[in-house]
């Protein structure tokens, strides 16, 4: 076990023990943790070895203190640390309130789930450390340094691993499809789409209608803006080709359209 601990490159050599002074807590590098669960595990381990008998409210408080201090120091915290903080604060208040039988799952169950998660992560961390501490080939034990080899013949036996195959495909795809990436990052409602939609929807009803009603519903703001631009251009295009009429009462007033009879 000692060897395992040594090999383990845990960045947290200073476990934040509950009664440590806050200033000492602050010296801990936030980059040392692999996410909020990892940080929680370190806090919990400092509390007790048996993760199922730790005090969750105490743990929550330690975590919240830690986040508070990090913020006071203007350390930049990744969003998931803050999400965890919000969730833990909620959990803590639910645990302190009189229990509400209607609440499902109960705060006690949520707390227990958290403990079980910590326990599982801890088990895997430990297992990883024990693996790394084994007698490893090429470090502790060695194969024959100069094997004579068994194959002497002429016919080629082609070798290729699945990894080679998959990375080759990844290489090809990424090499040949760079344009696709840009398109997917900035969705654009094309002029062709806008013309098609507008000419379909305008139909034959000879009433004046606000151009805005022809806009597709979109939640993405950039996408909606592009739809606005292309729909406007499409209206001009259709007016130019004599398929609809445009009218506007004044600057910035709604643009009205109706099909040409």
């Amino acid at each position: 076990m000692d060897a395992a601990e040594d090999d383990w490159d845990a960045p947290v050599t200073v476990a934040p023990i509950p009664d440590l002074a806050r200033e000492e807590l602050l010296t801990i590098d936030i980059d040392g943790w692999e996410g909020p669960l990892d940080l929680l595990l370190d806090l919990a381990r400092a509390q007790k070895v048996d993760l199922l008998s730790i005090s969750i409210t105490e743990l929550v408080q330690q975590y919240l203190d830690f986040i508070e201090n990090a913020r006071a120091l203007r350390l930049e915290l990744a969003a998931d640390y803050l999400v965890m903080a919000a969730w833990l604060a909620y959990l803590k208040s639910s645990l302190l309130l009189p229990s509400d039988p209607a609440q499902e799952p109960s705060p006690e169950e949520l707390a227990l789930r958290l403990q079980l998660r910590l326990q599982r992560l801890d088990a895997m961390r430990e297992a990883g450390a024990r693996l790394m501490a084994r007698d490893r080939l090429g470090r502790d034990v060695f194969l024959c340094g100069a094997p004579e080899g068994l194959h002497v013949g002429k016919s080629a036996e082609w070798t290729c691993t699945l990894f080679d195959l998959l990375s080759a495909y990844g290489r090809v795809k990424a090499r040949t499809a760079p344009v696709l990436h840009q398109v997917s990052r900035r969705p654009v409602w094309s002029l062709e789409q806008a013309v098609a939609r507008l000419s379909l929807m305008i139909g034959d009803v000879p009433d004046w209608r606000d151009l805005a009603v022809f806009l597709p519903q979109m939640s993405d703001a950039d996408y909606a803006r592009s739809a606005l631009a292309s729909t406007f251009t499409a209206a001009l295009e259709l007016a130019r080709t004599g398929r609809l009429e445009l009218a506007q009462d004044g600057a910035f007033a709604p643009i009205l359209v109706r099909p040409m009879p």
């Binding site: 692999e34 998660r117 599982r120 992560l121 430990e126 068994l150 998959l166």
Partner: protein, 204 residues
């Protein structure tokens, strides 16, 4: 000091091989009229107490130096590339809980598996994609390779350090299962002889 012919042949083949060999691969050289199982075990016994030993790793056999001589042989150049902590945890999860998908690894670690973590482990030859999980999205699942067992000196999965303890403690089970187990334990402790029908309603 002389060895019987079939052990000499086995010894030479294993010594000359540049990778660990399965029994089938060995048989391709030695023919089928040798009881390989017995021969391997005899040869292994021959080498007991030597500076070289014959070991089995995931069904593959090879000679290697004895672990207690590591201090003599270790050179600066022989230190393998240090794995990141994320890679170590990911490897442990795959080894102990295989086959697992990326999402399952992330659920245990509570963080996304960074780009490159699985890549590093695959490049080392320790993990490989092992089909897909038959659930929505059909995610790829990963498992460890024979090279993993050779590298870490494990005869089989059962040799994984602490595996039986982890299994007995339910630490390899999903959280939902563990939760149910704990709840039923607690209920039995609190109310050992309540009527079963009433209990059914409570622990829903």
């Amino acid at each position: 000091m002389s060895l019987p012919d079939h052990l000499r042949a086995l010894e030479a083949v294993l010594f000359a091989a540049d990778t660990p060999m399965t029994r089938e691969a060995i048989a391709a050289y030695l023919g089928d009229d040798i009881d390989l199982r017995a021969a391997l075990s005899d040869l292994q016994a021959q080498y007991a107490g030597h500076g070289i030993e014959l070991v089995e790793r995931a069904g593959r056999w090879h000679f290697q130096t004895a672990p207690d001589l590591a201090h003599l042989l270790r050179r600066e150049s022989s230190e393998p590339r240090k794995l990141s902590r994320a890679a170590v945890e990911t490897l442990a999860i795959i080894a102990y809980q295989q086959p697992v998908s990326r999402a399952e690894i992330e659920a245990i670690r509570g963080v996304q598996v960074a780009k490159g973590t699985l890549d590093v482990l695959m490049e080392a030859g320790w993990i490989k994609p092992a089909g897909r999980r038959e659930v929505p999205g059909r995610p790829v699942i990963y498992a460890v390779t024979p090279a993993f067992f050779s590298h870490f000196g494990l005869a089989s999965r059962r040799d994984l350090p602490g595996l039986s303890e982890l299994r007995a403690a339910g630490l390899l089970d999903p959280i939902d299962l563990a939760l149910e187990a704990l709840e039923s334990q607690a209920l039995e402790a609190v109310a050992p002889d309540t009527d079963m029908d009433n209990r059914g309603g409570d622990d829903d």
